[in-house]
């Protein structure tokens, strides 16, 4: 299998290099007849990498511990779902996963892109082939997943216990899908620059890829938050770790692009900015991998570190230089077709929105790199942790939330004073009502007050937009409210799907602000002893230690500590947290003990219990108990956001139906004309 896998990698490298070389040669020598060959090269690369991927999975499931990667990340008693996920648990497998998925995306882009944008496709194939070739080269010369050991161990090391979580089977692939799929919009942007086809065609060709990529990133980031929350046991879901920051960076620039591209489509403006945002998003996705893999910045996520990071740094610099040089060369062709006319226009609001998003991206990047910069300038190592990021980013984030509400309220080109008054009254009243309610509830912390009031304002904006649209449909078509709502969304998917995404973002913001009220307590209890913890909502939990039970399960030995929970005297059931000592198939300890958190969750708050250990080998247990308000809203926000995103990119809709009808009509007219000519 390793021979076939190795051979497939070389074949993929050859096909990718040949496809990319031919693409640029065809451009250089102006030979459009090579287009089909270039397109087909992507299918060849995809097939070769799929074979390589299957070979690695075969090795993993067959427990072929002579393969270094298999021995490093699996063991005989590892559950099968985690054997499957071990494919991307380590660096070498991740690289193969990345290259394979990119090749699938590259081939899919060739298949699904409308023939109207055919001229761009050879260049897109060339770009995806270059990126795939880079990944395969990195594998072959620095991180080969098929590398064999000089001996065969009797069992593998197993998978890091923190990665033995259902979230791990889906979080990394989802995030990788986000990172990887950015290559396709990047390919279209570079294709447009190379072919000088700089009208809105390339934007239409890649629109859905951009949303898809953004959705994958959103889902990947949220799943990462969920994994950190349920698995790491520190009671939170975001720690401003460099790797978390790295995933946020392309998300921010992609979000900026999804807004600014509307200005290009509507008004023919911001063409240079849009190309720059897509290039930046791609570079930041590579930067994320560099951060994860190089170990240049300390991170809890740096499970694997090697010199591969420097391959990525070299590639990052090369792509940045080439892309921005190309943008500079094509600068005159990207002249705006119109000019901004007023401060009170949606274009201006979107510009400020872009400024806030890119500003936050810069701030996150700056904070992530500041330890290195500080060391270079002052020679002193410093730490840049959550207090820094919160202090710098929270004000910018609140500005962004405000702009999320303002943008949809202002008309394109220029809004009149009367229009502004009419649009803003209800949302501002909604925000003020939330503020008043919070003040009456006794909340005085300025950041949550501001965040929740702004959330009220944005929600007011969205409700107003839906309400007016539904009312208009009711007046015009006599539709009932539910019918009008469905028709409104289905006939304007992009607009109303976008508003639903805004609701998702607001739900996230509400949940994030809730963490300002978290309560923590550490207690040691003998069986039968109780401790109390007061919720920020005013009620009290009484937790009684029930003892520790120990048993063997799957590939681990479990010590489970249970607490009986009573809320204001009413029994709520039992909550259990575990300490797990993972063992190999010979019952030898592997890795340090890990923690399974006990979480009791509702819409208001999470009761989060961690069994820290036992005192002197007895069942007297030490617990870390936390009450985290509004955490469930983070996951609900993700669901709303993804629903909105899917609506936005869902195929079909009136525009497509009308186009199909008019195309059919055009064909009918042509036949009639032919018949008329013959007669």
């Amino acid at each position: 299998m390793t021979v076939l896998g190795q051979f497939s990698l070389w074949l993929a490298l050859f096909a990718a290099a040949w496809g990319a070389g031919t693409a640029f040669l065809a451009r250089w020598q102006d030979r459009p007849e090579l287009a089909r060959i270039i397109t087909r090269s992507t299918y060849g690369v995809c097939a070769a990498l799929l074979v390589a991927a299957l070979c690695l999975w075969k090795g993993l499931f067959a427990h072929d511990f002579n393969i270094e990667y298999v021995a490093q990340y699996t063991s005989r008693n590892l559950p099968e779902s985690y054997i499957f996920a071990a494919f991307w648990a380590g660096q070498k497998g991740s690289l193969l996963f990345w290259a394979t998925i990119l090749s699938i995306f590259g081939a899919t882009a060739q298949q699904v892109t409308s023939r109207r944008h055919e001229a761009l496709l050879p260049y897109v194939a060339g770009i995806t082939n270059v990126v795939v070739a880079f990944f395969v080269l990195t594998m072959l010369f620095s991180a080969n997943p098929f590398e064999r050991l000089p001996f065969t161990p009797d069992d593998g090391r197993g998978l890091n216990p923190q990665l033995q979580n259902p979230g791990m089977t889906i979080h990394p692939p989802m995030l990788y899908l986000g990172y990887i799929s950015i290559t396709i919009p990047f390919g279209f942007a570079i294709a447009a620059l190379l072919s000088k086809r700089l009208d809105t065609g390339w934007i239409h060709a890649m629109r859905k890829w951009t949303i898809l990529s953004w959705l994958f990133l959103s889902a990947g980031i949220t799943l990462g938050m969920w994994w950190a929350y349920v698995e790491l046991g520190w009671g939170g879901y975001w720690a401003w770790d460099p790797v978390e920051n790295a995933s946020l960076l392309p998300w921010l620039t992609m979000t900026a692009f999804l807004h600014s591209v509307m200005i290009q489509e509507k008004r023919g403006m911001l063409k240079r900015w849009n190309v720059a945002l897509i290039v930046a998003s791609f570079l930041l996705s590579i930067f994320g991998t560099f951060i994860t893999r190089s170990g240049v910045i300390a991170s809890v996520h740096s499970f694997t570190q090697s010199n591969v990071g420097y391959f990525f740094l070299g590639f990052l610099l090369l792509v940045a230089i080439l892309s921005f040089t190309l943008l500079y060369v094509r600068w005159p062709l990207l002249e705006a077709e119109a000019r901004l006319e007023s401060m009170a226009s949606r274009e201006a609001a979107f510009l400020f929105n872009n400024l806030a998003l890119v500003g936050i991206a810069f701030s996150v990047l700056w904070g992530t790199l500041f330890p290195i910069i500080s060391e270079a300038v002052r020679g002193t190592k410093i730490t840049v942790g959550p207090p820094f990021f919160n202090r710098v980013n929270v004000p910018l984030g609140l500005l962004l939330v405000a702009l999320t509400g303002i943008g949809p309220l202002i008309a394109w080109r220029k809004a009149s004073a009367q229009n502004l008054r009419r649009q803003f009254v209800a949302p501002v009243a909604s925000g003020l009502a939330v503020l008043a309610a919070l003040l009456l509830a006794g909340i005085r912390d300025p950041y949550p007050l501001l965040a929740w009031s702004l959330a009220g304002f944005v929600l007011g904006t969205v409700v107003q937009e839906f309400w007016r649209g539904m009312r208009a449909r009711h007046r015009m078509h006599g539709e009932s409210a539910p019918t009008a709502l469905v028709a409104l969304i289905s006939r304007n998917r992009r607009r109303y799907g976008g508003y639903i995404v805004h609701v998702g973002i607001i739900v996230y913001i509400v949940a994030f602000a809730g963490m300002a009220f978290r309560v923590t307590r550490e207690v040691t209890l003998a069986p039968g002893q109780s401790a109390e913890i007061r919720s920020p909502y005013g009620h009290t939990y009484r937790l009684t230690h029930m003892g520790v039970s120990q048993y063997e399960q799957l590939n681990r030995f479990v010590s489970a500590a249970s607490l009986e929970v009573r809320k204001d005297g009413v029994s709520m059931g039992r909550i259990t947290s575990e300490k797990r000592q993972h063992l190999d198939s010979f019952k030898r300890k592997t890795f340090e003990p890990s923690t399974e958190v006990g979480i009791w969750s509702n819409l208001k708050e999470d009761l989060y219990v961690v069994y820290a250990g036992s005192v002197g080998g007895t069942d007297q247990a030490t617990y870390a108990i936390t009450i985290n308000p509004l955490v469930m809203w983070v996951w609900l926000g993700a669901g709303i956001l993804i629903t909105g995103g899917l609506i936005t990119m869902w195929p079909g809709g009136p525009a497509v139906q009308q186009r199909r009808q008019s195309e059919a009509q055009a064909g009918y007219d042509a036949r009639l004309a032919g018949v008329g000519a013959e007669s």
């Binding site: 239409h204 009671g235 006319e341 701030s363 910069i373 942790g385 207090p387 202090r391 000592q581 030490t622």
Partner: protein
């Protein structure tokens, strides 16, 4: 069997099943009596982490706030409080916690404890650098750049909005054929959606 006998035997069977489930399947591992406060030795104490009993000082808000300021030196990237209440295999954060407790017992204020930590471990011990000297660049640069760009953008937009509106161009005779016009309309619809 009459209908009544059938129902009776069914009810007896269901009751017996419920009892069996309660006694058998639903039975939880033997638990100590809730009244008992005696800690029994564990069957495998070697397979669970040994942990010191929590004290009142561990929950002192001042201690917690201080420990949130300090980074654990084990390389985990977490602050001391989070590390000691999360990564229970770490030996560094409990030691740093004991140092904080000792300094507080000496009567030092939180700022004095911080100064002592910085003097001993260097500036890197702080989770966020002090906002002074070059560190100010770290704190202020992003906000300053966004503010400057925002002001410039607003100035440009305001200048443009003060310009007299351009006279509308005379409607030119459209050179587009009906089919071109239809294509244009279709393209516009694409953009609108």
């Amino acid at each position: 069997m009459t209908r009544r006998e059938l129902f009776r035997s069914g009810a007896i069977g269901a009751g017996a099943l419920a009892l069996a489930l309660r006694r058998g399947l639903g039975q939880t591992p033997a638990r100590p009596s809730p009244d008992s406060t005696v800690a029994d030795p564990l069957a495998r104490p070697d397979l669970v982490q040994d942990r010191a009993a929590a004290t009142a000082a561990d929950n002192d808000p001042v201690i917690k706030e201080l420990e949130h300021r300090f980074r654990c030196t084990c390389g985990c990237n977490l602050d001391v409080y989070t590390c000691r209440t999360t990564d229970f295999t770490c030996t560094y954060s409990p030691a740093l916690h004991r140092e904080v407790l000792a300094l507080r017992r000496e009567g030092k204020s939180p700022d004095q404890v911080e100064a002592a930590f910085v003097a001993k471990y260097g500036e890197r011990i702080l989770m966020a650098p002090e906002p002074q000297g070059f560190n100010l660049a770290g704190y202020l640069l992003p906000g300053a750049l966004v503010a400057t760009a925002g002001v410039l953008l607003a100035a440009v937009l305001l200048r443009r909005s003060r310009r007299p509106p351009q006279p509308a161009a005379a409607p030119a005779q459209s050179a587009a054929s009906p089919s071109d016009a239809e294509r244009l309309a279709r393209a516009l619809r694409d953009v609108e959606d």
